[in-house]
């Protein structure tokens, strides 16, 4: 079993509702995110311009490097395949934050522990869907067991076709979240595009530091 998320980028309009719903549902501190909508692009030259929105969350990896490095077992893989943090065990060493290739984890300065998207485990445990899935006005987010061919996520992926299914770069962590993007919408970018006027904060690209 592998509970994860599929996000259809052809349908995402970049309204940021999921970002807001996540912050409210999980009481995420100011300046911290579990879920953030990045703008990828614009790329190309006029009139051949393309751009898409990329909602980012913990990628619920098959081989989570964050779990491998955790010294206490606070980061663990649950029975349903989701990657979780037991805040009671966390010593706040931030080693897992270093080991995540996407910066998907954040430090909770008040509780002095690390946290991240839980796919709203408190909601899914009582049969509900994650807050971002519920709130999405374009119905582009799907949650379920990707290993179950009868699940909604498996069906959506089958319908999209292998050539339109994408994942973020794999550094041995094997991300399980899948993105659907057809070429007619935009060209999938394996990395944040370098040629764009978007600020690093908007596009997920790190700025060159001026000092140490």
């Amino acid at each position: 079993m592998k509970k994860t998320m599929v996000i259809d980028l052809d349908r995402c309009i970049g309204c940021y509702s999921c970002e807001m719903a996540c912050k409210m549902e999980n009481d995420v501190a100011l300046g911290v995110y579990y879920n953030k909508v990045l703008t990828i692009g614009p790329m190309g030259t006029y009139p051949d311009i393309q751009q898409y929105q990329l909602p980012t969350i913990c990628q619920q990896c098959y081989n989570p490097t964050c779990v491998d490095v955790c010294p206490t077992g606070a980061s663990f893989k649950a029975a349903d395949g989701t990657v979780m943090v037991d805040k009671e065990l966390c010593i706040g060493c931030k080693y897992c934050m270093m080991a995540c290739p996407y910066g998907a984890r954040s430090y909770n300065a008040e509780q002095k522990v690390v946290e991240k998207c839980t796919l709203c485990a408190h909601l899914t445990a009582v049969g509900e869907k994650p807050a971002c899935v519920k709130v999405c006005c374009s119905k582009c987010r799907f949650f379920g067991d990707i290993d179950d061919p009868n699940s909604e996520v498996a069906k959506v992926l089958k319908e999209a076709g292998a050539e339109n299914i994408h994942s973020l770069p794999d550094r041995g962590n094997h991300p399980s979240v899948k993105y659907i993007l057809h070429r007619k919408t935009a060209q999938w970018q394996d990395l944040p595009p370098k040629e764009t006027w978007r600020t690093p904060h908007q596009s997920g690209k790190k700025e060159e530091k001026r000092h140490g």
Binding site: P71, G103, E208
Partner: protein
């Protein structure tokens, strides 16, 4: 990521302690100096303690640290256990010195301690080797840590020698100069690895170190203060005879500079450690 000063000082102090104990082990095996043994062992303990204290400052919940004992494969477990074993060896060495233990006992204790110290000096760098951060995903990184441990250890050992004779000073001078060269080679190897790291990005490029945002720190902190000054300080030792030539003060100054160089390397390393994507 940010500079993470607690980890900068953790690894720099631990590497200093490791290097010094390795030097003390060589001293024990080749019987160079009697008087340096006790003060060297105490200095090793102080360096390891300062390193351990710095690492605790990094933790959000240090009171839960014993939870780390259950997961022996993590880098933090390896670091903590190696600090523990090395620390025990240093204390055992001090105790054995106090009790006038046999030469063989002292040799055995220092040999075990030197092996764990070498592993620890490497391990504190190796913990950062991870695919998530392309600038760290190279084994040259822990070798820079190990090389800095050896350089700082040799300088600390020489600085702690009591009234060293000219021959000893001469030997230490050559050793320190060789270790400066080793450290420089390790840093060059790291920069070569950095320039060929996958997912190239301006935030972690070798050119940003050599000519960009980190250039000032690199050239002044690592190259001039960390390498050229220690090399020059001990070089001046051979220039004149007499009291000045026999002083080990240049080694103490060289140690301070090498420590600054080691700390600056670690600061730059943390800042180069950007992820493949950065969501937030």
């Amino acid at each position: 990521m940010d500079s993470e000063f607690s980890l900068v000082f953790f690894t720099a102090f631990v590497d200093l302690g490791c290097g010094l104990f390795i030097a003390l082990a060589i001293n024990e095996w080749y019987s160079f100096s009697e008087t340096v043994k006790q003060r060297g062992a105490i200095a090793t303990l102080v360096a390891l303690a300062l390193g351990g204290f710095s690492s605790v400052l990094h933790l959000g919940h240090p009171e839960r640290i014993f939870g780390a004992l259950g997961h022996p494969t993590s880098g933090i477990f390896i670091e903590s256990s190696m600090i523990g074993i090395t620390g025990i060896c240093v204390i055992a060495y001090l105790y054995a010195l106090q009790r006038n233990a046999s030469k063989q006992t002292l040799k055995t204790i220092t040999l075990v301690g030197a092996i764990t110290a070498a592993i620890l000096a490497f391990a504190v760098g190796d913990s950062y080797v991870m695919g998530a951060r392309p600038a760290w995903d190279t084994l040259t990184l822990p070798f820079v840590y190990l090389a800095s441990a050896l350089l700082m250890g040799a300088l600390a050992y020489a600085a702690l020698l009591v009234e060293p004779n000219a021959l000893m000073i001469q030997k230490m001078k050559r050793l320190v100069q060789a270790l400066v060269v080793v450290q420089a080679i390790a840093i060059i190897a790291y920069l070569v690895a950095l320039s060929s790291a996958p997912y190239s990005d301006a935030s972690r490029s070798a050119s940003s170190v050599l000519f960009g945002g980190f250039a000032m720190l690199f050239w002044v902190g690592i190259v001039i203060i960390g390498l050229v000054v220690p090399f020059g300080l001990v070089y001046s030792q051979s220039k004149n005879d007499g009291a000045v030539a026999l002083s080990n003060a240049p080694f103490a100054l060289g140690l301070m500079c090498a420590f600054v160089g080691a700390a600056v390397y670690r600061v730059i390393m943390f800042n180069l450690g950007t992820t493949v994507w950065q969501f937030f």
